[in-house]
Amino acid sequence: MLHTATPLYDDLIPGGSHWSFIMRRGHVLRLIDETGGANVGMLMYNPENPLERYNMPDTLKNQHTFLLTRGHVLLSDMGRVFASIIRDDLGWHDTVSGTCNADLVAQRWGRKTYQDAHNHYHRNGFSSFLNELAKYGLGKKDLTANLNWFSKVKTDDDGNMAYVRDHSHAGATVDLRFEMDTIVVLHTCPHPLNTAAEYPSHPLRYQLFRAAPVTDADPCKISSPEATRAFANTALYHLMQP
C-alpha cells in the first residue's frame, strides 16, 4: 500500500494544541492516537481556492452514512475528493458534533489562562481553528462542520445523541490518502461532548508517506457510485493542473 515503510516525516502535536499544513495529492497522512482517548478536530480547504472546503452533509449523504471509517471519502463542497480513508482501526469517527468553544471549556473544565498555566492553558477548538485559519487569510466565514477523529457519537431511534467514552485506544491509526492538494487545519482540543472530569489532553502523532498510485480497483474509488463520480470530478480538476 505504501512505497516506504518509514515515514517521510514524523511529529507529535501535544494535547490541547493546534497546527496546520498543506498535504500534497498522492501522499498519506497517518494519524495515531499516541496515548488513547485522543480527539482530533480537522478542517480541509483547497489551497488554490479556499472557498472549496470540506462538506459534512455532502460527505454523509453521498455515502448514506452518519459515521466515517475505512472506505469512505471526504468530499469538498465542489463534488470532489479531498482525501480517502484507506485505513481505520476504530470503525467510527464523528463529523456532526462540531467543536468545543471557550464557554463550553470554561463551564466543563474551568478557565485556565496562559498566565496561569503557560502552554498547558485550556485551548478550545473554535479559537484554535480560527488561529490556524488566519495563517491562510481565512476566518469565521470559512468555519464549517469539522471532523472529530477518534471520537464516536451515536444516536438512538429518536435521534438522541450519545458520546461513547473510551472509544479510542493507544496506537489507534487512521490513514488519509490525499487526492487533491489540501490545507489541513487541526487541533487536539477535547471533543465537545466529552464529559471527563479533567480537561482531556491527548497528543496526536502524525506521519507522512508517499501513497501508492490509485488504481481503478481502489476500494475507496469503487466504494459507491457516488464516490466513483467524485473521483471522476477530481480527475477532471487535475486534467488542467501542472
Binding site: L51, N55, M56, P57, D58, L60, K61, N62, H64, T65, F66, L67, L75, D77, M78, G79, R80, W92, V96, S97, G98, N101, D103, L104, G139, K140, K141, D142, L143, T144, A145, N146, K154, T155, D156, D157, D158, G159, N160, M161, P192, L193, E226, A227, R229, A230, A232, N233
Partner: protein, 212 residues
C-alpha cells in the same frame, strides 16, 4: 413533537408565496414569529439564518444538534449560532421532524449524488448564490453559504450509523413556526430538486408568513 400554532394567517403582517426554484430573503425582528408553510406537501425549504447586523454570525447545524443533544429539529428546538447564541426557537410544528444534516443540493453535489450529466440542473446553492449577488448591500458571498436546515425533510439516522433519505413526512398544509430571539436574516431556497423521490420529482411552492 407535534405542536399547533395559535396564530391565524389572517392576522399575519406579511405573506409571500415562494415558488420552487426561487429564493426568499427577509429580516425578521426579535420577538417576531415566522411560519414556513408547505402548501402542497413534501417540499424542501432549505433555510439559512444570519445575525441581521453581522452575517458573520450564522446558524450552525452542528452546534444546534449538539447543544440540544438530538439530530432532529422540532417544536422546542433552539437554533444556535456559530457564536453560541440562540437565534430562533421552533415554537410550533405540525410536521414533527426536520433535517439539518443533509445539507443543500448544489450543482456539483448533484453530479456525485445522481449523475455527472446533472451538473447544469438548478439547485439550492445556486438560488442562494443568486440571492447574495443580487443583494450586494449584505456583503455576502459563497463564503457565507453554510450548512442549512431542510424544513419538511426526513433524514433518519440509524443506531448503527446509517443515514437514509425517507419518504417525506410532511403534507399539504403542514408548517413550522419560529420565534426570532435576535434580528435574523432569513434566507430560504425553495428546493428545485428534480432527482429526489422524496418530493415525487415535483417541487412545489411554499408560503412564508410573519407576525409581529
Amino acid at each position: 413533537m407535534i405542536k399547533e400554532s395559535e396564530l391565524h394567517p389572517e392576522t399575519a403582517q406579511f405573506r409571500e408565496i415562494v415558488p420552487a426554484g426561487e429564493y426568499f430573503l427577509k429580516v425578521v425582528k426579535t420577538g417576531e414569529t415566522v411560519r414556513i408553510l408547505d402548501l402542497e406537501g413534501n417540499q424542501a425549504a432549505d433555510t439559512l439564518f444570519y445575525n441581521a447586523h453581522n452575517p458573520t454570525e450564522r446558524y450552525s447545524a452542528v452546534d444546534t444538534i449538539r447543544e440540544q443533544g438530538n439530530v432532529y429539529l422540532t417544536a422546542g428546538s433552539k437554533l444556535m449560532s456559530s457564536e453560541n447564541n440562540v437565534m430562533l426557537e421552533i415554537t410550533a410544528d405540525t410536521c414533527g421532524r426536520h433535517d439539518t444534516l443533509g445539507g443543500a443540493c448544489a450543482a456539483e453535489s448533484n453530479t456525485t449524488r445522481y449523475a455527472l450529466e446533472k451538473k447544469c440542473m438548478h439547485a439550492c446553492r445556486d438560488s442562494w448564490l443568486v440571492a447574495v449577488t443580487e443583494h450586494d448591500e449584505l456583503g455576502m458571498t459563497k463564503r457565507d453559504i453554510t450548512h442549512n436546515i431542510n424544513f419538511f425533510m426526513n433524514v433518519p439516522v440509524t443506531a448503527d450509523g446509517g443515514l437514509t433519505f425517507a419518504d417525506g413526512i410532511s403534507d399539504a398544509g403542514k408548517y413550522v413556526e419560529l420565534r426570532a430571539e435576535m434580528d435574523v436574516l432569513v434566507m430560504i431556497s425553495n428546493c428545485p430538486q428534480l432527482n429526489n423521490p422524496c418530493n415525487a420529482y415535483n417541487p412545489t411552492p411554499i408560503e412564508v408568513l410573519v407576525w409581529s
